[in-house]
């Protein structure tokens, strides 16, 4: 049961990152692919209608985490206190820039909110990347099972770890890169005209750049946390998710070669999904590694709620998820296809 909930939590967080990740990516590219106001509205309209639905995955992840692994939520969120609030404020600012900025017709204000939009998306990608880095590397857990991470370190390879240090910063950079590539793939599918052409060019370049970055980050991870890569080899679940990753890469490459934009997006979605789930499978059963003393690590069993709570939750979680996808299916039909600023403009309030 604990394994199942570990899987569900990983699935929900991954789904959030994959879905909202394309919005981060599109937001990072906002100024690069869109050069005038009309083009910028196109990018916003590609994100607009469903971003709050994507955000619900994050809220759902938080809910599942406190229900299934209360101790993990308590330890990790209070330990990364300031970083967590930076994330929350960026999400708040991004929501404001989408909801408010889109409704102001004044040019100056639109430019201001565009800047807020880009800024918060970049920071969100960096912070989520750094968070992944911290999960992979571990945190300085004390004997009471708590920690409090400083924001920075001196970036030395030996010595104290921080939220941003020599390992997590490259990890954050890698996340920004791969999410930008993902976002470019999404924009290619959703847009037309000049934005589309720029997105096509960027998509190829970015995915090519991902390859060496991935090799570097794998080597760094191997140095920091060799258990993770060894975990992949021995876990059947990790082989399955690796298979998903490979299928994603194949679909992505084929899609890019033959200008099949929908296939390319599907490929990059599965590629990201597979990668993150592989990471989760390799991590299991650990939820938080300890950098101070390996014995202090928190495993899923240490953090989990009692079995009865978990069993009850499965009983309602499955129908709830089915309902959620039903709504998506119903609503998706109205937003499918390319955006058209005159139709999907948010200047509607």
């Amino acid at each position: 049961m604990i394994t199942l909930w570990y899987g569900i939590l990983a699935f929900m967080l991954t789904t959030y990152i994959v879905l909202d990740g394309r919005n981060f990516g599109a937001g990072i590219l906002h100024w690069i692919v869109a050069r005038n106001q009309n083009e910028r509205r196109q990018v916003i309209a590609a994100i607009g209608p469903l971003w709050s639905w994507h955000e619900v995955w994050l809220v759902g992840t938080g809910g599942v985490m406190i229900m299934a692994f209360p101790r993990l939520m308590a330890t990790s969120f209070s330990g990364c206190y300031l970083a967590l609030f930076l994330i929350l404020w960026c999400i708040l600012l991004r929501g404001m820039s989408l909801e408010v900025g889109g409704h102001l017709s004044d040019r100056l204000w639109q430019e201001f909110w565009d800047a807020v939009f880009v800024f918060s998306n970049v920071l969100l990608a960096v912070l989520f990347g750094a968070a992944l880095g911290n999960i992979a590397r571990g945190v300085p857990l004390s004997s009471e099972g708590t920690f409090y991470l400083p924001f920075f370190t001196n970036f030395g390879i030996r010595g104290a770890v921080g939220l941003l240090d020599w390992y997590t910063v490259p990890m954050a950079g890698f996340c920004v890169l791969i999410l930008t590539a993902h976002g470019a793939t999404y924009l290619t599918m959703k847009t037309e005209g000049a934005v589309h052409e720029r997105s096509v060019r960027l998509t190829r370049g970015l995915w090519v750049a991902v390859i060496p970055a991935f090799v570097i980050i794998t080597l760094l991870t191997w140095f920091v946390r060799p258990e993770l890569l060894e975990g992949i080899a021995v876990r059947p679940a990790a082989c399955l998710t690796l298979l998903i990753t490979v299928a994603g890469i194949y679909a992505l490459v084929t899609g890019l070669r033959h200008q099949r934009e929908r296939l390319a997006l599907l490929g990059s979605t599965f590629l990201l999904f597979g990668l993150l789930m592989t990471g989760a499978a390799a991590l299991f059963p650990v939820m938080l590694f300890s950098t101070t003393d390996p014995g202090l690590r928190l495993t899923a069993a240490d953090c989990a709620a009692p079995a009865f709570s978990l069993a009850i939750a499965v009983a309602w979680w499955i129908p709830a998820l089915t309902l959620a996808f039903t709504y998506l299916y119903i609503i998706q039909r109205y937003y499918s296809g390319k955006v058209n600023v005159s139709q999907d403009n948010q200047e509607l309030y």
Binding site: G48, P49, L50, S52, W53, E55, V56, V59, G60, G62, G63, V64, M65, I66, M67, P70, R71, M73, A74, S76, F77, S78, Y81, L84, F85, L88, W89, L92, G95, M96, V100, H103, T146, F147, Y148, A305, P306, F308, S309, I312, A313, W316, W317, A320, L321, L323, A324, Y327, L328, I330, I331, Y334, Y335, S342, Q343, D344, N345, Q346, L348, Y349
Partner: protein, 455 residues
């Protein structure tokens, strides 16, 4: 309690109190408005009268603004359980996590999927599906309220739990947990109050347009619907829901009831003081104007019932700010009574067909809309400060619940951040809402709505 800049427990409480009070200003209006939208969409569908569609369109835009602010201020709330209240999350996460997770899975997916369709998709969906989108959003928003009140009810009156071997709470009886009597009463009370907020806002808009002499047809719709729902909801807030809520407090939290009424000595024939000031140091109520026996009757059903005073409880179990609870509770009750009187007056005039020409009444209706917000905030202050010193009533004290690793300074820093961001957010919200009101229901409708070209 020492009150200083290094008192982490205090700042964690202020942190949560500020963010949740601000957040709740928005959902209470959307929960109240949601059923107005459903009602108008339904009337439009049945009668084919375009004025109802126009009303729904105008209020959907106001709804959308409130919804957006509600979402962006609501997301941090869930994470604050982990960041600021790690002790509490660890202790009771296995129980309250159930309803928090259900809220995300059942309510938010529903709401966020259909909100876009409700605000932007009228022509794309067609009248029938657009009506269904309104029902979906309304259901989602009320479900979300239900799950949050279930969570709160567990903190007020824990049921259906067991204590696990490591001292944390576990769920033992799902039925009892989900049918917590406290939750059902509080939910009814709270949702009626949300309807009061909604109907005062709708009526105030009608009064505003009537006094300005603009949009007469729409103003009439708002006044009629707003005052009718307003009267019914104001009455329901007081009786039976508010009355049952008070009885519930009397039964399960007698020390809170004593604080709400500033009752230091237990007695039969206990009074309700209409006006008064608790003096905690001297342990008496100053300058009371009493209604003899009313408290005994209201809380326990007969005038002879014995109401326990604060003195009968150990001081450790007293709520830590009795004055504030007393004022919050009494002002809420007073406002609730005034709401009934205003709405009764308005309905009397409406019945006589003179609502639109009663200038004085229209001014009152227009200026009354902020007061339901004040009343609901005070009601929640009574409930939450009345629960002190407990986080989970009788089981877990507030002082054990906050994150030990987070210093008071970090908490103050993030609190200041929220104050700043929410100030800007509030300005934007007011500006955009004001712009909608200025544009008005008819004009906004006359402007070509380009997105409605079907795909």
């Amino acid at each position: 309690m020492q009150a200083s800049l290094t008192d982490a427990a205090l700042w964690h409480r202020i942190h949560f109190g500020f963010t949740i009070t601000y957040h709740y200003l928005f959902p209470q209006l959307t929960m109240g408005l949601a059923w107005f939208l459903v009602h108008w969409k339904w009337r439009a569908l049945r009668t084919g009268d375009e004025k109802y569609n126009r009303a729904a369109r105008f209020w959907a835009r106001i709804f959308g603004l409130n919804f957006a602010v509600g979402v962006v201020t609501g997301i941090p709330m869930e994470f604050q359980f982990g960041t600021n209240w790690a002790g509490f999350s660890k202790y009771s996460g296995a129980v309250i996590g159930q309803t928090l997770a259900m809220e995300g899975m059942f309510a938010f997916f529903l709401e966020s999927a259909f909100i876009g369709a409700l605000i932007w998709g009228e022509k794309r969906l067609g009248p029938r599906n657009h009506f269904l989108a309104a029902v979906g959003v309304a259901t989602g928003s009320w479900l979300s309220g239900l799950f949050i009140l279930l969570t709160n009810a567990f903190m007020q009156h824990p049921v259906g739990y067991a204590v696990a071997a490591d001292g944390t709470l576990a769920l033992s009886d799902v039925g009892a947990f989900l049918l917590n009597p406290w939750a059902l009463v509080q939910y009814a009370h709270n949702q009626c109050a949300a309807l009061v907020t909604g109907s005062f806002a709708v009526a105030a808009m009608g009064a505003f347009y009537t006094l300005r002499g603009t949009h007469p047809e729409q103003a009439k719709v708002y006044l009629n619907t707003g005052t009718l729902v307003g009267l019914v909801a104001s009455l329901l807030v007081a009786f039976p829901t508010g009355d049952s809520q008070a009885k519930m407090v009397g039964r399960y939290q007698p020390v809170t009831l004593a604080s709400m009424e500033g009752l230091f000595q237990g007695t039969r024939l206990a009074d309700v003081s209409m006006i008064g000031q608790p003096n905690v140091i001297q342990q008496r109520l100053e300058n009371p104007i009493p209604l003899p026996g009313a408290l005994s009757f209201l809380a326990y059903g007969t005038f002879q019932s014995y109401v326990r005073g604060l003195n009968e409880f150990p001081k450790d179990d007293w709520p830590d700010n009795i004055e504030l609870i007393y004022y919050a509770f009494h002002i809420m009750i007073t406002l609730g009574t005034i709401f009934i009187l205003i709405m009764a007056w308005a309905n009397w005039k409406r019945w006589r067909g003179r609502l639109e020409s009663s200038c004085g009444l229209l001014w009152v209706l227009m200026l009354a809309f902020p007061f339901p917000y004040i009343a609901t905030s005070l009601g929640w202050m009574t409930a939450e400060m009345g629960r002190q010193p407990w986080l989970v009533y009788g089981l877990f004290r507030t002082n054990s619940g906050y994150s030990q690793v987070v210093s008071a300074g970090d908490t103050i820093f993030t609190l200041i951040g929220f104050v700043g961001l929410y100030f800007v957010l509030g300005l934007l919200f007011l500006y955009l809402t004001g712009r909608e009101i200025h544009k008005g229901p008819d004009e906004a409708d006359a402007v070509a709505r380009p997105q409605e070209v079907s795909v």
